[in-house]
């Protein structure tokens, strides 16, 4: 129970008033000379159970009347989660909305989404509480918006649904910054989310910062979490895995790979109608789905031969969540996959060219070029997808150019130099690239096998059919260690790193601890693993070369596109329900065009994952912070905070009536005194 005017509860001792009056009354007795003592004595001898109880009941109801009145004027609130909100309604409320696509899921039998429900409930609650200052934090720009009095949260641009995932830790940090910047004495942070693990990023290191920073405010900043963790049973999501144009003779077609995922474990066969739109021309088709998931590879869609590149859209029928029912894609003839090889060791360079120059598919154009140190300056880096480097690490302008290439989405693989260049006094090589530098050769006891490798992601992951690459058969004879931040992908027994990835915001940088020469390893002789790894890196990197790209909303690539194109991106096709004012390329799903560049922005696939935070994790995230949580349901617009003074007033009136009824003199059985009554 919480109150809007809690200081009025100071008057609660007044409930003792009837008891005090009763006691005073007991002391103010009168003395009467009385004749009919025999009746009084007889009455005294009778059981006084009910009479005594009646007295207590009367006192109790009188107390209740006063208590009801005091509680009513203290304006009580009916809410299970606003325990400590009493008396704090005049403070600032910072509203953080999870606007990710999963929040657009509708409740059963209602057209209202989780986001709409949350907005409406927040608006009503804050209005009831009479909060003076409502700050809405934009999950996209992380900018605070101060709502004017009477302005609804739902009407604000910063509360509209978006196609990007929500970064809850970032929102909380922004809220923290707002509290600190404005030196708010007290603030309530109102958070509405469906608790999707992807949005909350429970393992993110920022949570530690958030907890520690908010703990400094002690109880002055409180969190109110309105959670909608309930998933939809029959929701189906669609995701495009790949879309590319290919030519078959004189005809052209789009090869579309997509995946349908249902939220329900079922073996029932069902037909899913698909609406496919290519450059504005719609068509219908149906796929059969018998399990919870269906993946379609290279679904052929004929297009005009003259269409070198274009866009499309694939959609499934409406279900619980409209936001995950359509995906946009762009396609084009795959650009040539260009590889540049710089090697000190000529035979190794040939081996690398062989591995990089053989196309994995007939319609792919693959080029691999060996360059000398002098020719490096003339390499057109903007057209290069993959750089294979064996030798001393690049430096100066060359390194800057390579970094730009990686930043654009390109990929670099470094192999150990033939001889380690000059070492510093401490024994380490001085040159470094991407924060990593070669260290020293690792002593190996003859041939060693690769002991462990990442088979779930990256270059050495399992094939699409689920088979593992034969990494374990590889043998390593020479290994060079390197220092710097990197994630090992393959290691030999004893911990020597064979392959590692250096973390970058875009593109990819790999360091090999060995080289494919027969003296160093069997990478070349057992060439499957090396070829696959190389081609995977090439395929990944070549995506950045094309003029048509499919990017995730809110991803760094999308952000960069927005920055690069400023507001020049033209929206070709977008979701109907996206608001008019929302034209931000980075976070709004749709097809965009800037000159000859095409981009399809879609929600991140992580948004389709139904995993939500469990209670223990949530408790851990907010450990030591004052958090009130209430679980809602989409479409349930019952007020979060409801004034219930009427109930108390009614209770008071009822108590008054009961008290009056109890206080009424008993139906008198006094004698009928009538002189005319005959005695017999």
């Amino acid at each position: 129970m919480s109150f809007l005017q809690p200081w009025l509860l100071l008057a609660l001792p007044l409930i003792a008033l009837p008891i005090i009056i009763h006691l005073i009354n007991q002391r103010r007795f009168q003395t009467v000379s009385w004749g009919a003592m025999m009746f009084l004595l007889a009455a005294n001898r009778m059981s006084r159970g009910y009479a005594r109880l009646r007295q207590w009941l009367i006192l109790f109801f009188r107390t209740l009347v006063i208590a009801g009145l005091i509680f009513a004027i203290a304006r009580p609130l009916a809410s299970g989660w606003l325990g400590g909100l009493a008396g704090r309604s005049a403070q600032t409320a910072i509203v953080l909305l999870d606007r990710s696509p999963s929040m657009q899921q509708r409740g059963e039998g209602t057209p209202v989404s989780k986001l709409e429900t949350g907005r409406a409930q927040f608006t009503a609650a804050l209005q009831t509480l009479g909060t003076e200052q409502i700050v809405l934090l934009d999950g996209r720009t992380l900018e605070p918006h101060l709502l004017q009095r009477g302005e609804s949260i739902a009407d604000h641009l910063a509360s509209q649904p978006m196609d990007d995932r929500s970064d809850i830790p970032a929102l909380l940090l922004e809220g923290l910054q707002y509290v600190e910047k404005n030196q708010l004495g007290q603030a309530d942070i109102w958070l509405c989310s469906d608790l999707r693990s992807g949005d909350w990023q429970a393992d993110d290191g920022r949570w530690q910062t958030i907890r520690e920073a908010y703990r400094r405010f002690e109880n002055r900043v409180r969190f109110h979490l309105l959670a909608y963790p309930q998933g939809a049973k029959d929701n189906l999501t669609i995701e495009v895995l790949d879309a590319r144009r290919t030519s078959v003779g004189s005809e052209a077609e789009v090869l579309l790979s997509f995946r349908l995922v249902g939220q329900r474990e079922t073996s029932e066969r069902r037909e899913i109608p698909l609406e496919i739109e290519i450059a504005g021309t719609p068509s219908q088709t149906t796929v059969e789905m018998s399990g919870p998931e269906l993946e379609v590879r290279d679904y052929r869609i004929p297009i005009a031969a003259s269409m070198a590149q274009g866009w499309g859209r694939i959609a499934i029928p409406a279900d619980a969540n409209q936001a995950d029912n359509e995906v946009f894609f762009v396609f084009q003839q795959p650009p040539p996959r260009r590889t540049v090889i710089f090697c000190e060791d000529r035979p190794l360079a040939d081996a690398l060219r062989l591995a990089a120059g053989i196309a994995p598919a007939s319609d792919l154009q693959v080029e691999a070029q060996i360059v000398t140190a002098e020719a490096l300056e003339t390499v057109p880096w903007e057209e290069i997808a993959l750089l294979l480097w064996q030798g001393p690490l690049p430096k100066g302008d060359l390194l800057a150019q390579i970094e730009r290439m990686v930043g654009r989405g390109g990929c670099v693989m470094f192999f150990p130099p033939t001889s380690l260049p000059g070492t510093s006094d401490r024994g380490a090589v001085e040159e470094e690239a991407f924060g990593v530098r070669w260290a020293s050769p690792t002593e190996l006891a003859g041939e060693v096998q690769i002991d462990s490798w990442r088979s779930d992601a990256d270059l050495l992951s399992q094939t699409q059919s689920g088979q593992a690459l034969p990494v374990g058969t590889l043998k390593v004879r020479a290994l060079v260690s390197f220092e710097g931040p990197s994630t090992p992908l393959a290691t030999v027994a004893g911990g020597g790193v064979v392959l590692a990835r250096v973390p970058t915001t875009a593109g990819a940088v790999y360091f090999w601890g060995t080289s494919p020469t027969p003296a160093a390893s069997t990478l070349a002789s057992d060439g499957v693993v090396f070829y696959v790894a190389l081609q995977r890196a090439l395929a990944q990197a070549s995506e950045s070369l094309g003029s048509a790209r499919m990017v995730e909303a809110g991803s760094p690539t999308a952000q960069k596109m927005m920055v690069a194109g400023a507001n020049g991106w033209e929206k070709i096709r977008g979701r109907q329900q996206t608001s008019e004012g929302d034209r931000q390329v980075a976070t709004t799903a749709g097809v965009y065009r800037l000159g000859d560049k095409w981009a399809a922005i879609n929600r991140p696939p992580a948004e389709d994952l139904p995993e939500v935070l469990d209670d223990a994790t949530l408790d851990r995230l907010f450990q030591g912070l004052p958090l009130d949580r209430v679980d809602g349901q989409a479409g349930n617009l019952a007020a979060l905070v409801q004034e219930i003074w009427r109930a108390f007033l009614l209770a008071m009136m009822a108590s008054m009536v009961i008290e009056a009824a109890l206080s009424l003199p008993q139906r008198t059985t006094a004698l009928q005194v009538d002189a005319r009554r005959p005695a017999s």
Binding site: A42, T669, V673, A675
Partner: protein, 302 residues
């Protein structure tokens, strides 16, 4: 008729004059010594036929009904009712409880009005009146006489009587039943704060002695309603221990006790054929007396 000039507030001449047309009758034959308005257990000469009775030797031959003898050839004596006066004995309760008043008159004041007026009426019609003032004993007594000066003495007793002491009504009534000559009209004016079952034997005793018992049961309206607002300490007018009670708490039980008492008393008076009149001291005593006298007249007629 009254020669004293003393103003007695319990005697209202207007009331007396209005009641003068009514007579006080006994419900059963009374035994007086002179002729009067009341039936006598003896047969006498009057105009009111009583019965035929077989002649027995010793009967006055003048009373033989010759006509009947002519018709039936049997000897019958024709008897007529004999009217006589009565001895009216008032028993006035003067215990402490009779002193209670919640309004203008105490119960004793009211009782004096009833007794004074009835005594006057009885004396007026030639009946002998006497009085016994009782509390924890007989405080004052005047045997029934029928001369007007005797009435004055009765009024003197009424003037001087005071309420004090407890009630010993039961033994006193037994005593009066024995000491009063048979076939008298006994009018008891009391608040009867005695267990009704104890009164039963008194009433039966009086009935056995062929007395006609009439009771005016006097109660104060406050004693009936018991309406007190504040906690109250009740001091016993008859000298018992005081009681402290919360009236609102005890009122219903008080009323229940009063009701039980009343029902019990009602049962006793019905079974002992007592002429019982319950009177609240806020009632108009003239009206009470009119009802009483009228009822007794009807009783006589029946």
């Amino acid at each position: 008729m009254l020669h004293n000039r003393k103003q007695r507030d319990y005697l209202d001449p207007h009331v007396l004059s209005r009641l003068a047309g009514l007579s006080l009758f006994a419900r059963r034959p009374m035994q007086g010594n002179v002729s009067g308005k009341h039936r006598s257990p003896n047969r006498g000469a009057s105009v009111e036929f009583a019965q035929y009775r077989k002649y027995v030797p010793g009967d006055d031959l003048r009373r033989l009904d010759w006509r009947t003898y002519g018709r039936t050839d049997r000897y019958y004596v024709k008897e007529f009712e004999a009217d006589t006066n009565l001895r009216c004995c008032f028993v006035l309760d003067t215990s402490g409880s009779m002193n209670y008043r919640s309004q203008q008159w105490s119960k004793l004041d009211y009782a004096k009005r009833l007794v004074g007026t009835l005594a006057y009426l009885a004396a007026e019609q030639g009946d002998a009146v006497g009085i016994s003032c009782v509390a924890d004993g007989i405080r004052g007594a005047l045997p029934p006489r029928r001369n007007p000066s005797h009435l004055r003495q009765l009024f003197e007793i009424l003037d001087t009587t005071l309420c004090q002491g407890g009630t010993q009504l039961v033994p006193i009534l037994h005593e009066l039943a024995e000491t009063t000559a048979q076939r008298a009209l006994i009018i008891l004016v009391s608040d009867l704060f005695v267990p009704p079952e104890e009164l039963r034997s008194c009433f039966q005793h009086l009935r056995f002695r062929k007395h006609d018992l009439a009771i005016f049961h006097l109660l104060d309206p406050q004693e009936i309603r018991f309406q007190f607002q504040r906690p109250t300490r009740f001091l016993d007018l008859e000298g018992g221990n005081p009681i402290f009670v919360e009236p609102s708490e005890i009122a219903d039980r008080y009323h229940r006790a009063l009701e039980e008492y009343s029902e019990s008393l009602q049962r006793v008076v019905l079974e002992t054929a007592v002429d019982y009149t319950r009177v609240s001291s806020d009632q108009d005593y003239e009206q009470v007396l009119i009802e009483f006298l009228t009822r007794r007249m009807r009783g006589r007629g029946g």
